[in-house]
């Protein structure tokens, strides 16, 4: 057993960078897949609506942990090497896309009907309506809940630890295995997650207040 020392703390901090990177990958991936999903959900074409809502129900009805295992072992079946970072990024992307898609659908629908009608009258086609009229307004509505969802993403990257990706949670387990001070170490890990997440929570709340106040 090794005494807990400053190196351990440094090790945790270094691992926290991987948590940040994975969160970023998940958010960007989730946004890239989630936006088309949201547009499909609000589409006039039935098939697109059915497909996208089916996807969202499917992902929201299964635990992220199981998704993580599926993409980890699934990539193996497809003949790729089992790289934990890739598997984690893929499953977090699938997960974030479903939730962001659903959040953004709500925001697009929150834009008043009259905006659609007015832009119709101006002779804009569907794409122009989205680009010039609807989406700019939807973005303003969507910012607070999106920032709020980032907190979920950061927290959920901790699950990547179970497939052996060394981020903050995994680093905590490793340090704990050599020092056996679980209470102290996991509290420290929790504190680090808090430092990452709390500013986002505050930002989401402030933005929310601003949107509703103004």
């Amino acid at each position: 057993m090794i005494q807990l020392n400053a190196n351990h703390l440094l090790y945790l901090l270094e691992a926290a960078r991987w948590t940040l990177l994975l969160s970023l990958l998940a958010f960007v991936g989730g946004a890239i897949v989630g936006l088309p999903l949201a547009l499909m959900r609000t589409s006039k074409i039935r098939l697109l609506r059915v497909v996208s809502s089916g996807y969202i129900q499917l992902i929201q009805g299964t635990p992220l942990l199981v998704l993580l295992f599926l993409s980890y072992f699934g990539l193996g079946i497809l003949g790729y090497k089992l790289i934990p970072l890739v598997a984690a990024a893929v499953s977090l992307t699938l997960y974030a896309a479903a939730f962001l898609g659903e959040i953004w659908r709500g925001c697009i629908e929150a834009v008043p009907r009259t905006q659609w009608e007015a832009s119709d009258c101006l002779g804009l086609n569907r794409a122009q309506q989205y680009i010039y009229v609807i989406l700019p307004q939807a973005v303003r509505i969507a910012t607070p809940p999106t920032v709020g969802f980032m907190v979920q993403i950061v927290k959920n990257t901790s699950l990547a630890s179970v497939i052996g990706f060394v981020e903050l949670a995994r680093a905590g387990q490793i340090v704990n295995n050599s020092t056996f001070e679980p209470f102290l170490i996991f509290s420290a890990v929790a504190a680090m997650y808090f430092v990452l997440c709390y500013p986002l929570s505050i930002a989401a709340r402030t933005l929310e207040r601003k949107t509703h106040g103004g």
Partner: protein
């Protein structure tokens, strides 16, 4: 792709999956009930309590909502046992899930309670009800009714999140999957089955919450407004 799917292991391992799913149901129902009670109490404290109480509840809610469930579970299971409080994996799981559910339902119920108009309380005052009676009989049920969709989603989310308790070897559904896949090497198939079971469970939970809602909120049932 030359992979051949093989579900043959199901023939003799299916009872394991049923047992795992049953434990998942037990763990999560306990956590949902306890967590909801805890959350309601905290929400009442947060709205009607004094400064100190409000600050305490606020700290609890923010701490839980801004840290991962995985770490919370580790702190309860490994942390508490290292300071001398030895709990089984299942008990630790229920405690961690309850604490987690409590924080989220505090926020949800707080919103519900805040949405009840002051005049309701004033009217209760006029009728001679005490503060406690007014909260119990006048405020709580309508507050719950307003946020019931959010509450039931949170219940489903908690059920799904309970898969994380497999990491402290509570033998629920995901832990069962981990075990079966290490015996059979059919990892992908095993997790596919488990994903389907979770999907079924989340449909079941939605149905269950909907039924409870129908029983609890008589007025809404009579008016026929959907929950």
């Amino acid at each position: 792709m030359s992979y051949k799917f093989d579900f043959a292991f199901l023939a003799d391992r299916w009872p394991d999956f049923v047992a795992g799913a049953w434990l998942t149901i037990q763990l999560t129902l306990l956590a949902i009930v306890f967590g909801f009670v805890l959350g309601t109490l905290c929400a009442i404290a947060r709205v009607y309590g004094g400064r100190v109480l409000r600050l305490m509840v606020g700290t609890y809610v923010e701490t839980i909502r801004n840290t991962p469930l995985l770490i919370q579970i580790f702190i309860v299971y490994f942390g508490l046992s290292s300071v001398g409080l030895k709990l089984s994996a299942e008990v630790s799981a229920v405690i961690a899930l309850t604490v987690n559910m409590g924080a989220y339902s505090t926020e949800i119920m707080r919103a519900g309670i805040a949405s009840i108009q002051r005049t309701q309380l004033e009217a209760a005052d006029c009728l001679g009800l005490t503060r406690l009676q007014a909260i119990l009989h006048i405020v709580l049920l309508p507050a719950m009714e307003r946020v019931y969709p959010a509450l039931s989603s949170q219940g489903v989310l908690l059920m799904l999140a309970s898969s994380i308790t497999s990491q402290i070897s509570a033998e629920e559904l995901t832990a069962t999957a981990n075990l079966v896949q290490s015996d059979t090497y059919r990892s992908f198939e095993v997790y596919m089955i488990v994903a389907v079971v979770y999907l079924g469970l989340s449909v079941l939970y939605r149905l269950f919450f909907w039924l409870i809602g129908q029983v609890l909120f008589e007025r809404r049932r009579r008016l026929g407004t959907p929950l």
